[in-house]
């Protein structure tokens, strides 16, 4: 029947749509690469031209806290991918546990970043340091990329909780886990950005 076939082909199949969604998320990440690169470059320019200011800040801050935080985020990425692995094997509860852990680690990361910001603020590193300050020009170039990244982590935590909620509702299965996979793409991307930011801002 002509009508029946027409209805059968009204849209992409679930597999095709899953591919579409993944491609869409990759393209979104492509645009994120560019916008992060603007902030990263601006910090790199400052680091190249004003090394003394940067070292001064590092003496104030140390790297213990941020190193711990980096491990939190790395672990969260691992938890994320273990969650995906769980649902690919059809394990609903394991999925919820792993993604829940991801959200928890992400929240801890943001919390510790807040602690770090507070320390920096006490030391006098502000977003609007003027030429008179020893930290002149550092604050805005530091806070912008890290806060932008932090905002991505916060959104990621919310997204993770949403994935947990949907998992609880039984929306994912061995055949249908693109929702987990796309959240994973986002979360790992945020992790990758942190890997670069950590090295550039705190180590180099």
């Amino acid at each position: 029947m002509a009508e029946a076939t027409a209805h059968a082909h009204h849209g992409p199949s679930p597999q095709e749509q899953a591919e579409n969604i993944k491609f869409g998320v990759w393209l979104y990440l492509a645009s994120e690469v560019i916008i992060f690169s603007v902030f990263i470059t601006i910090y790199a320019m400052f680091r190249a031209q004003n090394p003394d200011t940067v070292f001064h800040v590092r003496e104030e801050l140390g790297i213990a806290l941020v190193s711990f935080n980096t491990f939190l985020l790395l672990t969260s990425s691992w938890a994320m991918v273990m969650g995906l692995r769980a649902i690919q094997a059809g394990k609903q509860r394991a999925l919820m546990a792993w993604i829940g852990l991801t959200a928890l680690l992400g929240t801890a990361f943001v919390g510790l970043q807040y602690v770090e910001y507070t320390e920096l603020a006490h030391a006098g590193v502000a977003i609007n340091n003027t030429n008179a300050s020893v930290f002149a020009g550092f604050g805005m170039r530091f806070y912008t990329p890290t806060a932008f990244h932090g905002a991505h982590v916060i959104i990621g935590v919310i997204w993770a909780l949403w994935v947990v909620w949907r998992a609880w509702k039984g929306r994912y299965s061995t055949e249908n886990y693109v929702g987990v996979e796309t959240f994973g793409l986002y979360w790992h991307f945020v992790d990758v950005v942190w890997i670069l930011l950590f090295t550039l801002i705190y180590l180099v």
Partner: protein, 110 residues
Amino acid sequence: MTDEAHPHHHDAIILPGDRRIRLPGGIYTFVFVVLALLTLIEIFLAGMPEGPARVLVLFGIAIGKAALVVIYYMHLKDDRRIFAWTLLVPLIFATLGGFFLLLSPVPYST
């Protein structure tokens, strides 16, 4: 997609020389361990004296870590080729733009 498309379901990891190790979580856990070790090395190197070599090694490690996450955790290794291009092209543009800004002479001074 069939199960064969997900080789990571098995806990075994094949190392160079056809040796296998078993690890809960398979390659994902293995990559996590590598990432953690690389991060420790980075933190150690951060205490080393200043110099271009230190900068290069640190960035090298960071790029290696990022590549591990992208290849294994974001599945670029097994996924469609076009996803890799989707990531590479903006990376190239961003890198070129960034290096232009970093290296172009400043026509004024403050």
